[in-house]
Amino acid sequence: MGVPPLSFEQVTVGDGTPSVVSLEVPGHRAVCVLGDEASGVGSLGRYALALDRPPTGRVLVLGENLAELPRRAALAFRRRVGYLPAGDGLLQNLTLYDNVALPLRFGSDRSEIDIDGRIQVMLTMLRLQHVAKLRPARVNEEERRRAALARALAFDPELVILEQPFDGLTTRAAAQLLELARGGELAVGARRSVFIVGQSLPEVLKARVELRYRLARGRLEPEN
């Protein structure tokens, strides 16, 4: 067994009744943690990427504790992880195309032609070509979420963290989004490891999320 792509070790989350979370996201699996807003479930993704620091415990991403890395190293390391923040986090003054291209333009030495090639693949895969030149405010919520996922997958990461990815989406759109995040199937499971946090998971997606947990009343309990 290799190093798990993501592991939480005695991490405290939540305000009212804090929970101590110890959890591993195994390779090639989709794992989801559900809970209401007060449970602090929304912090898990941010802790994983060291955007916030947990009061106690530590989080290892691909074997590395980002919170202990120097800022520049932590920024560079985050490019190895796909991150879809709650909301979508798209930059409103850029077109969807430029939003998807941004991490590649800023974080790689690829030429503009190479970047364009990669973006066209992503846009086709996520069915965004017809709205690629529009800004986020001019497209619907599903298209924004798809664009945010395309941006998260720009570097083809082995781990993807999704925060409330299915809120406001139809079941069909949510299913497509999950499949794209998984990145296809290998003999051992999904091509990517996927970590989902949110308040609910559509019923039809439960079969495609191998490990499901619920965070409530200060405890993390498996659902399946």
Binding site: R46, L49, L51, R71, R72, L75, A76, F77, R78, R79, Y83, P85, A86, G87, D88, G89, L90, L91, Q92, L102, P103, R105, F106, G107, S108, D109, A148, R151
Partner: protein, 259 residues
């Protein structure tokens, strides 16, 4: 008995902490010049040019109007009044000291702070509230590199260039005022150029750079200081403008004291 002192002390400590945070932020903006990754330069350059368009080019008409009206009024009044007592030569000093050296950089900076400072603060605060700043961090992009550095650079270049424009237009508007009051162009330029020393020009240009630095950092600092509430956006804009204006006036006074 001690309660009022405690309240004052707390306020003072809070303000000092805020100034300290602003100083650290300014330092990190300067530092970002050197740490911008090679790949990010192309993107940062594009944002910089957009900011330059908004902050400098779109402000040109405003600066021309301000400068020409101010200079025309001051010089025409001065030629008339000083002419009565035979001291018309003093318009050179008036033009160089009052307009070129003091009011030129000051009014340019105030115009840019009011126009672009609010926009920078509101834009960055909205970026923060909409989760765009966190998304950038999550993608491995330093928000200082992508959001702050281009605005910082554009503000410096803009205020510097607009100050030169302001002073140039002021001298020409002064000429128009002089001609309208029966003074020859040769006489006007002779008086003004005799009063204009290298030191005045350098102080003006240094002021342009310093005021540009203030407008590049103070609004960005306040914009990124908001948390996640949309109601904080107008507050950040207001703090940005007040903070910038205060800093510009303090620096202006400091320049007078030092020079």
């Amino acid at each position: 008995m001690l309660a009022p002192i405690a309240v004052i002390g707390t306020q003072v400590a809070r303000q000092v902490a805020r100034v300290g945070a602003l100083a650290r932020f300014s330092f990190s903006a300067f530092q970002a010049w050197g740490t911008l990754p090679a790949a990010g330069r192309r993107v940062a350059r594009r944002v910089f040019l957009n900011q330059l368009w908004f902050t400098a080019l779109q402000a040109i008409p405003l600066v021309i109007v301000l400068s020409s009206i101010l200079s025309f009024l001051v010089i025409s009044q001065a030629v008339r009044e000083l002419g009565r007592i035979g001291a018309v030569e003093l318009i050179g000093t008036l033009m160089v000291v009052a307009i070129v050296r003091e009011l030129g950089p000051l009014l340019t900076a105030l115009a840019v702070a009011g126009r672009s400072g609010t926009a920078i603060a509101a834009e960055l605060a909205t970026n923060k509230v909409m989760g765009e700043v966190d998304a950038l961090e999550g993608m491995g992009i330093d928000p200082v590199h992508y959001l702050v550095l281009p605005r910082f650079g554009a503000a410096i270049v803009s205020v510097f260039s607009l100050t030169i424009l302001f002073d140039g237009v002021a001298i020409l508007a002064g000429l128009v005022a002089a001609l309208a009051n029966d003074m020859s162009a040769a006489h006007y330029f002779d008086i003004v150029l005799r009063s204009l020393a290298f030191r005045d020009a350098s102080v003006t240009l240094i002021k342009g750079l310093v005021f540009g630095t203030i407008i590049g950092t103070v609004p960005s600092f306040h914009g990124l200081a908001v948390r996640r509430a949309a109601t904080e956006v107008p507050i950040a804009s207001s703090h940005a403008v007040v903070g910038s204006i205060l800093a510009i006036f303090l620096c202006s006074a400091l320049f007078v004291a030092v020079s």
